[in-house]
Symmetry: C2
């Protein structure tokens, strides 16, 4: 019975997620749902991404947190339109929260929406938001054992970012083992390195930004193709 | 209706948690539920704690993970009795899982049981296991904003460990701000520093171990007092 209730909740979420997905397709917006542990560096990665793509894409941001608007305040400094969702203790975003946030965004003038989910390596992977793609951020400080210990998020993601690579000299992190395990869980995944605080050593962040650009182009072209 | 079902689940959990708590009191075992993000360093802290307390306390360990027995294998090397719980995707331990694990432990010959919860800064705080005390581990790599963003766990904990302090020179982490916020959320909390990989710079780990010893003594004495 408890399981049935859970199914109902997930079923209802999937319905709203499908509606969100149809909305994004109609507006030809590439929507990326970024997930990862608290402190994996999602917000800093997002700030760096906004800087690098500022002249190329019009990016809006939806920030998910249990409490506070700290992350939205950081994003706002980069000039990107941002909506903060507070889940009031909830451990993940759901599709209805995203639908509500969209009402506060000028979606006619956006190419990309990046959703920063609640910091949690477990629950957000279970709730589809209607996004075009999911990405997972793993900090090298978390340890290379995390993909196998928290496999669902790595299975669901189209991209994985190995973050804070500037800290590799100071931590025990077997990067090859982490990348191997991620590829075993999800053979089609794109894996990028990133170092967002050390500007001189950006690692794979430009490739990551190009991946976002390419995905936007695909979404945009698919729409054009359907229109003909 | 969904909320009522949630209440029922929590109510059922609380009943089993109370039974666990009565069992621990009768056996005069101090039970510590350690929580924190994936990669905050819970297992390494636990390994260091086992080393330092090996000659003083008989410590058993319950390891909680979604999948794998990687952590239990690490603990076993230290000679401590350990039971691995796999939640098969579940985002937290619950009281029934602990009760089941207890059946596999020689509880007549233990002074302390340390439970390492699933790596998750949100959900585990909502599920009482019958433990004597909760502790939260926060790595300096996670950022000083985390207590205010994930307040429940810091409110529930009797102790907070600021971990991986050896990485402070390489990250932006305002330790005073983190400790201030934790104390605002929970004025009675005990805050310890810890650096578990750099052996020469243990920071507050000895104080942390003394805190565990003191708590065991209290549990033991309370029992003796009730017996008279």
């Amino acid at each position: 019975m408890e399981i049935e209730v859970m199914k109902d909740i997930l079923g209802e979420n999937d319905t709203v997620a499908s509606e969100n997905a149809a909305f994004f397709a109609a507006k030809k917006i590439f929507v990326l749902n970024i997930m990862g542990s608290p402190g994996s560096g999602k917000t800093t990665l997002l700030e760096r991404t906004l800087e690098l793509l500022a002249d190329k894409l019009r990016i809006g941001v939806i920030e998910g947190d249990l409490f506070t608007a700290k992350d939205a305040a950081r994003i706002e400094k980069h000039g990107a339109p941002v909506v903060q969702i507070n889940t009031a203790g909830g451990c993940h975003l759901n599709a209805a929260m995203i639908r509500k946030a969209l009402g506060k965004m000028d979606t006619d003038n956006l190419d990309v929406i990046i959703i920063e989910n609640v910091g949690n390596l477990v629950c957000p992977a279970e709730f589809n938001l209607g996004e075009t793609a999911k990405a997972v951020v793993l900090s090298v400080t978390e340890g290379e054992d995390k993909p196998m210990k928290y496999p669902l998020m790595f299975k669901e993601a189209a991209a994985a970012v190995i973050n804070k690579t500037d800290l590799l000299p100071y931590v025990n992190f077997d990067r090859a083992a982490a990348e191997h395990d991620i590829a075993v869980l999800n053979p089609g995944i794109n894996i990028f390195g990133a170092s967002c605080t050390a500007v001189e050593k950006d690692d794979g962040i430009e490739a990551w930004c190009m991946w976002i650009e390419e995905n936007y182009r695909k979404v945009s072209e698919n729409f054009s193709a359907r229109q003909e």
